[in-house]
Subunit: 366 residues, 2 copies
């Protein structure tokens, strides 16, 4: 399959069966929200109850859900039989039955929890960590998936423009985040995670928006993501209030160079760690401007963070159809942080940036 | 410890050590967001990176976080040493070192994932499913926790009153949900999950708000939850647009009786399944009004859903300090659903309903 056509959920189930057979598995058990959505079109809301797609390599598969959710899986792939369990069951007996005698079962080791893996082993199953089989299917996006990530990026771009246009000294950090999230939801995002941080708070890439007001001299680091029609878009832009400081200008120029270098490195066949190395060499070259606290980015699609991760330990070569956030940053405690992020799809002959919002250090209106 | 005093994170770590020692464990490994928050005061935002609190029974514990998040754990319990790992590590070596030679390690089996449990076993650890140790500590809320759930309930009550006051035929289901979520966030909720469903969409307890407009004759089933200062409150009220139908009146009266019966059953020493049985006997007595699709409720606190669950298979006896949602419902496909939900704390001599919003079938303004 070329990365440029669309795939049906049935084709995805069949490809999973092939890959599982090649790995000498009897069945594959998908348990993450996103993998279930990929294979069935139904995205569960998982709390304590079990949801799973069970696919024996030689037989019909099943989608296992609490009875409460049975009404929502009628549209699952014709290759997946809906199986439900009552509130009196933990669903494992029904799941084991759906595995239909399979012994060697591939699982998503980053999702299946210890309690369930032990219970399945107690039923005689041999569990094999095989999340990469699922990850490899999901990481080469098809044309429909690329279009959806692009549509999510476009929504996030509009939110960034709107937010920076309205930003004024005196606004409260927490309120700005709530208002952007609300707007993204009103536009149809099923989930939205704005992380807009002011001044010194932006020095922490995972800082929490608080009651602080925007002040003259602040940098603003605005990381916005939204899930639209199942797929995420994720962008970051920065601004300053009043005239940018020497630090802000130098940090921003450095991060822009680092982002360009990492995007340039996004080509089929290049190891994921090389994309990280391209930005890291630049960001770490100026320790007086701050610290390099994270990798170059991560794949994005049905999940906001999915493999491959663009970090020093990832050897995975990039493939056509992969979509990554490219988001280098530099952070100085007490001063602030600068990050620039776009979403980039790997093409046969290079790459395509899915967002078109210009890179500029926005000057926030007075 | 009586349930009516507050506990420090250090006391909680010490109690965990005692319980783990009693269970002949060498250490306990907490990995869920909420358990980490309970023991350290720091609530992580977990994506693919490891966060953990590791507590050897005889030695100092550690809180293990990515370097990125080290700045946020300075205030962790004095009994927990902050340990961080670089982007080049998956954190497991640092975690194993923090376990300090412990062999028999209790884990949260509903959270620790298969990939990490296998990696820890490969390092020679014997893992024991011991989530109930942590659950038992967390399920008896102290006075500070009860006060916080009550404060979250008060916020949700205000949101319900506001929402029903403003509701008019013609409003769009999705917009009403977005607006209520926004308001809850503006009031300081770190997370908020409104689920306000109109008409036939309310027949699915996990339905998704859509583009449908509110119409005369609709029931409205409004389930609102919010996390404020770390703790959740969760309430449901219902209304009708125009004169309530015979079905709506009968279903609402039945659910009110079922809720009263389940609340009445909330007493220390009663098995959790008995609370469910109290509502189920009533709801299932009138199949012509609809189906009983879920249990009586669940404990609530740092997590919106936490054990014990009030379902037919839970034998756990209720204890003083436990807080439950009590939320029976009845659902008729094509027509709608009725649910009533309050949060109830088990007291030494009975129970206390933490919310005070009157039970009424709201008549939505024309």
């Amino acid at each position: 399959m070329a990365a440029v056509v669309c795939t049906s959920t049935s084709e995805r189930v069949r490809r999973l069966q092939e890959e599982a057979r090649t790995a000498t598995l009897d069945a594959f058990l998908a348990t993450s929200d996103e993998s279930i959505a990929y294979l069935s079109g139904f995205r569960p809301l998982q709390l304590e109850r079990l949801f799973a797609v069970a696919v024996p390599v030689d037989g019909p598969g099943a989608i296992v859900v609490p009875r409460l959710d049975l009404g929502q899986v009628a549209d699952a792939s014709p290759l997946l039989e809906p199986v439900s369990y009552e509130a009196s069951s933990d669903g494992l007996a029904e799941l084991a039955a759906a595995l239909d005698g399979s012994l060697r079962v591939g699982v998503e080791e980053d999702h299946l929890v210890f309690g369930r893996s032990e219970a399945l082993r107690d039923r005689g199953l041999e569990l094999v960590a095989a999340g990469e089989i699922m990850a490899r299917l999901r990481w080469r996006k098809d044309a429909g998936e690329i279009a959806r990530v692009k549509a999510a990026c476009e929504l996030v771009e509009r939110a960034l423009v709107r937010m920076f246009d309205a930003l004024r000294p005196g606004v409260v950090e927490r309120d700005v985040n709530a208002s952007v999230e609300n707007w993204l939801r009103e536009q149809g995002a099923a989930e939205a995670h704005p992380l807009i941080l002011f001044g010194a708070n932006a020095a922490n890439p995972h800082g929490e928006p608080g009651p602080r007001e925007l002040q003259s001299g602040d940098v603003v680091c605005a990381d916005l993501s939204a899930r639209l029609d199942g797929y995420w878009g994720d962008l970051t832009r920065c601004g300053t209030v009043g005239r940018a400081s020497g630090w802000a200008i130098e940090a921003w120029e450095l991060v822009r160079e680092a982002q360009a270098a990492a995007i340039e490195a996004c080509r089929a066949g290049v190891a994921a760690r090389e994309v990280d190395a391209a930005q890291r060499a630049l960001v770490e070259s100026r320790p007086e401007l701050g610290s390099c606290l994270h990798g170059a980015g991560h794949a994005i699609g049905l999940a906001i963070h999915e493999p491959p991760f663009l970090v020093p330990r990832t050897e995975t070569p990039l493939e056509e159809g992969m979509i990554f956030t490219i988001e280098p940053g530099i952070y100085q405690a007490g001063t602030g942080g600068i990050r620039l992020e776009d979403d980039v799809v790997v093409r046969a002959d290079g790459h395509e940036v899915l967002s078109s919002l210009p890179l500029e250090l926005v000057e926030v209106g007075a």
